[in-house]
């Protein structure tokens, strides 16, 4: 490298500026500055600000005053809020179970020699890369009370039902419809991540097990699953976190209706904070998600990954 050699020479007579910029501490400071600045200003600060707002009666355009726990005590007695908490939990649990069962299944299907495997993989990821709102609108149309294609197939083609399904007009139907849409969107992420995990498992382990006469189920249970656990834990953490704080699907398809039955905590926070203008109350709802999130994160991470921690695999 000619350049390096030349610079090696140049270095001896470098000015203070060059030396200044070659100082490790200075560089660390300068390098960390943009990221740290942006994150502190637009992430850490708002996080604290949100907690503070939850204790005030701030409205859009009016700085609030400290009102202690009033927002929380109001929410505590608010049926809509508890409805949202309940549905958020159900939504997260059911959708996560669905996503992981189906995602794992899909990953196992893909983890073998198949024709067109890379095309298949690319197609399968599609639901995950397309903007959620846009696919949500497609689901909205699929769930249309009068022109639903699902109803059409069930009623007019198969004749399994007499009437069109009212997907979004009845609370429980709407809840189920949203969960299905969420699972649909989540499967690719889970499947592709787990597939990556599966590919790291050495085939020799399976060969050994097969020689020992282990059944497919046993091989899955005793080899695949344990070896997949670390990656499963991380994917699960992410999935739980993003499902719990989901906003787009519900906002696009039902906006929390009918009768507030499909509000997630995030959509309720938006409804109260931005649409209604009660920023304080909205912030309180958002803050109320934090304990759930910490719990969910710790649970999914430690419950599944603790073996890894015990083994001392610390730098994650």
């Amino acid at each position: 490298m000619a350049t390096t050699a030349r610079q090696g020479l140049a270095r001896v007579e470098d000015g203070w500026l060059t030396r200044f910029f070659d100082n490790r501490r200075v560089l660390v400071f300068l390098f960390m500055l943009p990221a740290a600045g942006l994150l502190l200003l637009f992430l850490t600060y708002p996080l604290g600000l949100g907690v503070w707002l939850g204790f005030t009666d701030t409205k859009i355009g009016r700085a609030g005053e400290f009102i202690g726990f009033e927002n929380y005590s109001w929410l505590f007695t608010d049926k809509v809020f508890w409805g949202a908490v309940w549905f958020t939990i159900v939504y997260t649990v059911v959708a996560t179970i669905g996503k992981f069962t189906l995602g794992l299944w899909l990953a196992l299907l893909l983890n073998r020699t198949l024709p067109f495997k890379s095309i298949l993989r690319a197609l399968i990821l599609l639901p995950w890369i397309v903007p959620t709102v846009l696919s949500a609108i497609a689901f909205w149309w699929i769930y249309d009370p009068q022109f639903s294609i699902i109803s059409y197939v069930l009623v007019d083609v198969l004749g399994w039902r007499d009437s069109y399904i009212d997907f979004l007009g009845v609370p429980n139907n709407a809840r189920a419809s949203l969960i299905v849409a969420n699972i649909w969107r989540g499967i690719p992420f889970v499947a592709i991540c787990l597939l990556a995990g599966l590919q790291t498992i050495s085939p020799s382990l399976y060969e050994a097990a097969m020689i020992d006469g282990a059944s497919a189920w046993r091989r899955f249970w005793h080899i695949t699953l344990p070896l997949l656990m670390p990656i499963l834990a991380v994917v699960l953490t992410f999935s739980v976190l993003f499902t719990f704080t989901d906003f787009q699907l519900v906002y696009a398809i039902t906006r929390g209706g009918p009768v507030n039955s499909t509000h997630l905590m995030a959509t309720l926070a938006f409804q109260r904070g931005i649409t209604g203008g009660y920023l304080g109350e909205g912030a309180a709802i958002a803050v109320a998600m934090i304990p759930f999130l910490i719990f969910a994160t710790c649970f999914s991470y430690f419950a599944l990954a603790n073996r890894k921690w015990q083994q001392g695999g610390k730098d994650d």
Partner: protein, 304 residues
């Protein structure tokens, strides 16, 4: 934890009552493969892709066909029309929304990549005191969801006079892009051998030169992965764009399709679906070129 030997032992000691099928049978029999592998796989693909098919087919249907399942087969188009696309492109602000979204996504991606490369390099290569903790903090930052931040961020956006300006998005998107990109790039830098840098250092290159001439060129795949991922994340972002932007021409595609195209006495499903389809196409195209980078960033992020 995964003691295969132990498993096998266990089996030998306590064989199950059900007679075990021989392993060889599994991949030998085609009918069995069809039932256990191909059928479910095809079902998966069909279900995962159906909404897009439905989106596309709705886009090119005429209104009379769209609402008449009795005379037309809803799964097919008997007389395709471009009317919906035309309406979208010439009678709405759609082109403007595309431009806005593109601008916001590109600028915030560039900002984030710049900040992330530097931060990741500092954390992984310059190794300062507590750099591991800083790395962890950035990882945790990625776990802070926008649903918690948008309300306080909204008050800040109002206060800074950024409301209804694309700047509000350009400045806030890095909050979720930087943690992700940094984290991904730390992993990439880790995979580049130190020896190269050490040699250069011995040769007398400055640290900046080393980063610019040696490490970064080797990290290009990582940069591409982080870049397209960040671009997609910005393109798909919804809640900030919904909360911080008001006028039609400043909206991003996902928000505009939902808030501007739903109007009046009929949902114009044709143009709604056209909007959704066209809004998906740019990411889909980028994605199709970089599938492997995409998958590697997705899985790399998870695999630490």
């Amino acid at each position: 934890m995964t003691d295969v030997g132990q498993t096998a032992d266990h089996e030998r000691v306590a064989p199950t009552a059900v007679p075990e099928r021989s392993g060889a049978l599994e991949w030998a029999s085609l009918p069995r493969l069809i039932v256990t592998v191909y059928t479910p796989l095809i079902a998966f693909v069909v279900i995962l892709l159906f909404p897009f098919y439905w989106m596309a087919i709705t886009t090119f249907k005429s209104n009379e066909e769209l609402y008449n399942y009795k005379e037309y087969n809803p799964f097919w188009i008997s007389s395709p029309t471009l009317a919906n696309v035309k309406k979208l492109l010439f009678e709405t602000d759609y082109p403007q929304w595309l431009v806005t979204t593109m601008t916001v996504a590109v600028v915030s991606t560039v900002i984030s990549l710049f900040a992330s490369v530097l931060a990741a390099y500092a954390i992984q290569r310059l190794k300062f005191k507590n750099s591991e903790w800083v790395g962890l903090a950035i990882y945790l930052a990625y776990l802070v969801p926008p649903s918690i931040l948008f309300i306080p961020l909204a008050t800040m956006v109002f206060r800074f006079g950024l409301y209804d300006s694309p700047m509000a998005l350009i400045l806030t998107y890095p909050t979720f892009l930087i943690p992700f990109c940094t984290w991904l790039l730390i992993g990439y830098f880790k995979s580049i051998p130190y020896e190269l840098e050490e040699c250069a250092l011995v040769d007398g290159a400055t640290r900046l030169q080393i980063m610019w001439k040696i490490t970064l060129p080797l990290a290009v795949p990582g940069l591409i992965s982080a870049g397209i991922f960040a671009f997609t994340l910005s393109w798909n972002e919804f809640i900030y764009a919904l909360a911080f932007i008001q006028s039609s021409e400043n909206k991003t595609v996902p928000v505009a399709v939902l808030t501007q195209l739903v109007e009046g006495d009929v949902y114009h499903w044709g143009s709604l679906m056209a909007g959704a389809l066209l809004g998906s196409v740019p990411v889909a195209i980028i994605y199709s070129f970089f599938v492997d980078y995409y998958v590697s960033s997705l899985t790399g992020a998870v695999k630490e």
